[in-house]
């Protein structure tokens, strides 16, 4: 009884915070629906509703909603959730709030895979597959290198940085040999990120990888807290630190690679969204992971709306996330400094 009364004293916890998390998880749904209305051809809410759930609507509108906009927006939501959740998980296990989904070289590896696929003219499916494989390869290499030198956090970060820059050089190498009129622009645009090419066929593999990665990290989320303690503390609490860390890295890498293979390189979401989520619901991963998923999906949907509606041509996503993400991050950072340091 005493325990319950004690906890009811602060309204923020647990009901308030759980409610907030639920709200953040549901947030992408209305945004997704609203986003279906937006585009070169503006649509009414009734038409969109009828296309989605059956009703009288012109076949062209239905096709536009179901075959063009819906897959793209679902991809945006999944990519956003994937990057944010893997970013949150990586920040946790690397015990460093400046780490993001790309820390293990996934993006650089995926970029190399995609560039290679374009030079080999292997088509959209080939690009997705090679990008995914490249991402996994790079992260796998970083983890192997890291483990070979003791497997501590610092070595892992260092090998991530090394592998990243190695694969960036490989990308440059491929670019150097690419046909400058067709392939080179293709590679360059891919590396700037974007979802304009997404079709239903791209969604299935993304959805499967996301389900595994998000599901796994959601199951592990309370334990992830223990990895943010020192290794000795975590071990003394009965945790097999290396095993849980490896599992988390594997799931986070799967999420990032699947996202990047569809969207190209999209930065900053995996860094900033976890911070924003932490500012809203606190650092406990029990709440942070689902909050990051919802917020990440919502944020990338918004970015993608800007990308596809503001100019006559698409604006690459990475440019937007950078232009908006950097100032936002700076503000977060400044606020943190003003509060007297201490990351939340």
């Amino acid at each position: 009884m005493r325990a319950l009364r004690g906890r009811a004293e602060h309204t923020f916890w647990p009901v308030g915070r759980a409610g907030l998390v639920l709200g953040l998880c549901l947030l992408p749904l209305p945004i997704l629906f609203a986003s279906l209305l937006l585009g070169r051809m503006g649509l009414g809410a009734r038409d969109v509703w009828a296309s989605l759930f059956g009703g009288a609507v012109p076949e062209t509108v239905r096709a536009l909603v179901l075959r063009v906009r819906l897959p793209r927006l679902l991809a945006a939501a999944l990519v956003g959730a994937n990057l944010a959740v893997s970013g949150a998980a990586f920040q946790g296990i690397f015990r460093n709030p400046l780490v993001e989904s790309r820390i293990l070289g996934v993006s650089a590896g995926a970029g190399f895979g995609a560039a290679l696929a374009m030079v080999l003219r292997s088509g959209p499916a080939g690009i997705q597959i090679l990008a995914f494989a490249g991402g996994l390869l790079a992260a796998g290499l970083a983890v192997t290198l890291g483990s070979a030198f003791g497997g501590g956090i610092l070595v892992l970060v260092l090998s991530g940085v090394l592998v990243s820059s190695f694969f960036s050089s490989l990308v440059s190498l491929v670019k150097y040999f690419a046909d400058p009129y067709v392939q080179l622009p293709g590679i360059t645009f891919w590396l700037m990120g974007g979802l304009s090419a997404v079709r239903w066929a791209d969604i299935l593999p993304l959805a499967v990888a996301s389900a595994i990665g998000l599901g796994g990290l959601l199951l592990l989320r309370w334990r992830l807290n223990l990895l943010t303690l020192s290794e000795a503390e975590a071990q003394s609490l009965g945790l097999s630190v290396r095993r849980l860390r490896f599992l988390t890295v594997a799931l986070g890498t799967l999420l990032t690679a699947a996202a990047v293979s569809v969207s190209g390189v999209v930065g900053w979401v995996g860094l900033i969204v976890p911070h924003a989520a932490r500012a809203l619901v606190g650092p406990d991963h029990l709440f942070l992971i689902p909050a990051s998923a919802g917020l990440g999906a919502a944020v990338l949907l918004l970015f993608d709306n800007i990308a596809r509606t503001t100019l006559p041509t698409e604006i690459p996503l990475d440019i937007l996330t950078g232009l908006i993400g950097v100032p936002v991050f700076f503000l977060l950072f400044m606020r943190q400094i003003k509060r007297g340091g201490g990351w939340r």
């Binding site: 005493r2 325990a3 943010t228 009965g238 406990d284 201490g342």
Partner: protein, 258 residues
Amino acid sequence: MSLVGRDIFYAYSPEKYVLSGVSITVEGGEVLFLLGANGSGKTTLLECLCGVRFPQAGEISVDGLPFSVLSARERAKRIAYVPQFPEAAFAYTVEEMVLFGRAPHVGPFGRPGKKDHEKVEEALSQVGLENLRARPVNTLSGGERRLVLIARGLAQEAPYLLLDEPDAHLDPANQHRVLSVVRALARKGLGVVATTHNPNSALLYGQKVILLRTGKILAEGDPYRVLSPEILREAYGIPFQLLDGAGAKAFIPHVERG
């Protein structure tokens, strides 16, 4: 019922032993202080006793069960480790931090439930931190942070508590606050091992002391009997003098004033 380490050898690099043949026994209900100069092996011994490090030779057992037959989780239900400072990368609240002590009792994919929250409340009230439960740990004073980690150890429900320098970097009042909580817990049946650099802490709060020098036991037993200016000089390499009066003893370094 006791936590026993027998003939423990530990080396960080080949043949350079930090611990060479140390044996230690702590019973429920007593506080054992580990004393010794920097690098004498105190913290290493503590980390071996909580299973964070694996000795190259020797055996450790808790309540008759050798570590070799215990899983990490089973071990964590029996032995709690309290480091000097919480090293969390994020600003967890007191309540969240203490809840982490429930880890060995929560399944791998589980999350803490009502019973776990009740244990947290119990632990917080035992160390007197009920009113701080919603505060981020990094906003607390040094003494309060130490108590948070002790509460986490209590939430772990382990009968043995290992503390790394619980009295370091604290003013005398906070040293007393922390160590008197530790002593009260021992009186309720907990077995405690604590490292310290202050021989007087052992005199005031301990039932047993082990004095280490370069990985070997120099002296052990009742602190009042074992500790002497001569043995402290041997341990630390500088002369000490004993202040004895009004029923209490204390040691201070015997060096030139001013």
